[in-house]
Amino acid sequence: MVIPLTGLKIGMDGTIVRLDFDENIKERFIAMGIIPGKKITYVHESPFGDPMVFKIEDNKIMIRKDEAKKIFVEVSEELLFLYEANPGKYEVISLQGGLLFKKEIEKLNVKIGSKIEVISNNYGKLNIKVNGNNLLLGKGRARKILVRRL
């Protein structure tokens, strides 16, 4: 699926497909390393939601949303954060927190690759099932878990 960079969730990556700019501006982005065929990851989000920081190989580049809208990437499938997930089965793709958060959540058997089932989603407050155990997650934690629908 091809989506603009602004469609990426934090931590998600895609392969650059095309840049919809005038020739001159396009050339500038290409010279900065935003080259079709390269993998690009959305790594930092600004306190005010705009601009965004992306990582390409070892470079981190800040791009405003107005420009990011015009850069298109191919993503394998749409990912979403757990807090926006409807009831159903999901696979954990990544955990977007600090070390402490990761340790804590892994103790609860929520790891990268683990399968979970969302039983109910009450405005971001989740009741989920992992390894047969029921678990309640607050919005704060659910925001940091990136999942893929199974």
Binding site: H44, I61, M62
Partner: protein
Amino acid sequence: MTFEIAIIGNPNVGKTSIFNIITGSRQYIANWPGVTVEKKVGAFKYKGHNFKLVDLPGIYTLSAQSEDERVARDYFLNEYPDAVIVVADALNLERSMYLLTQILEMKLPVVLAINSIDEANEKGKEINPYFISQTINIPVVLTSAKKNVGIDILLEEIHKVAEKKLIPSKKFPYPESINEYVNYFAEKIKQFDYLKSYDPEWLAIYFIEFSSKNFDYPKELINDISNKFDIQKLKTEYMNWKFNFISSIIKSAVVEEGRSWALRDILDHVLTHKLLGLLIYIVALFFVFSLTFNIASPLSDLIDLGFSSLGNALDGIIKIPWLNSLLIDGIIGGVGGVLVFIPQLFVLFFFMGFLEESGYLPRAAFLVDKLVRKFGLSGRSFMSIILGFGCSVPAILSTKTIANKKERMALILSVPFASCSARLPVYVLLISAFFSKNAATIMLLVYISSILLVLLSAKILQTFFIKGDEVPFTIELPRFRMPTFRNLLLYSWNRGKHFLEKAGGIILIATIFIWLLSYFPNNNDISSSYAAYIGKLFEPITLHLGWNWQTNISLIFGAVAKEVVASSYMTILNVGEEGITYALQTILTQRSALALIFFVLAYIPCFATLGVIKQETGSYKWLFFELFYTLIVAYILANIVYLLGGIFL
């Protein structure tokens, strides 16, 4: 004979560090003629030859879209350097190759310096310089400016290239269709005499890369070429060829073990975090602000004291009254007025240098970019505006790190509306005389208007007065680096020296000019001086605001430095600190005092600021623009406040 060497590279590759190592302290800063892009030139000797080293702006391409890029391209087109050092980043070699290819296509004698090799090795990256050297036929040196590695070899290679003018003879292996086009183009262009000094093959390549926008190609030739070739298709082919060419070189020359960037990512996670990041930014701003104005102010006071005691000591030694006054009030006062800035500028440059070289500034810009964007500014501007509330001089000098020239010009001309600390004594004097009950409200109004003025002015200037290209604000977050103490000192020293040379003279001359106005024709009797005469001249346009000639003179003297408005009142009204309140109440009403406060907020920035504006914009045109612009804005503002004051007071 002196060899001229140019040094160029992407931003943040350590170009400046290499420049500093090679030239040591033998360097100076200037603007390129007619533009605000900074030019650093240094000198050095090697094996009995004199070398001049020109530092070109850090850029990604030679497209000539931004002023930086235009400066670099025009330099290569017109100056014929004896050698060009292209500095590449060992950790980002692929991206640096893009610019390198463009420079090689201009047929310049190039030495490639692959810098930060120590960091690359630490990260498990090995680079084979011989392979690159063989493939594109230029000398390639591995360097580390931080650890002073490879600089000797670099100097040796520059020397060799400059002496023999070694222009790489190998042609790029373009695809057949590109070759065919280039040959045809080069053959045709020979009939145009005015293009004789340019390389015909470069003209051909430059045309497919950037079309005819930034270069004056003959129309008939363009028509001919467009009929014969599909330019769009050639462009795509050329771009594809370039990527493949570069990535094939990189693949063969760089061996790399996959390792992650854990430490940088953790630091970035904190520094760009929604809450923590903002908090750290506020702390950083507070530090720069308070250190600049607090650490430095005792030193400034000391300098001030030194000059006034020097004045006192000389007083009476010279018996000719006008010479005595010129020396003490004019020259010593003026020199002192320049030198008091030195401590705070050095402290500011030191810390700004730290923030810039460590790689923090782009992260700070990222955090607040959205807040000021509506006004045509970017996150980079935010810190300069905040500094402006301390003093406009360092604030304007701190705009150097803003890459977009249009934004930078607008900011330089708008920052003086930020209410600097020198205006405070004037507000305090007037508020305590007229608004002692509502002091806080008035102060708040002043500061809010000040912020609005800065932002609106930046927008208005960019809409109507400052021309420039819209370039998307896209910056790199560079790797973190620990700046060396030596580099920071060198950085502060060069910029401080630059201020003394460029702005100091203007401030001194202006101060002496004001002295002349106040001293003549009646030997130091201000109320019958030329200044008083000018004050009376302006009465017709100020009397309706309730300002008589005494207020006008104080404002004229306030152009030297804003705090002078308060002390001039005491001199003119011939009263001390105690009597000033009552004396002011006899010549001003509440309404006119309020209008005066807002006039002082906006009108003519002090001479020091004007001097720095001239230094940074590189032209007197903008100095005079600023003079009239702020006067008009201040006059309109004062009238509005006077009208509104009539309703509320």
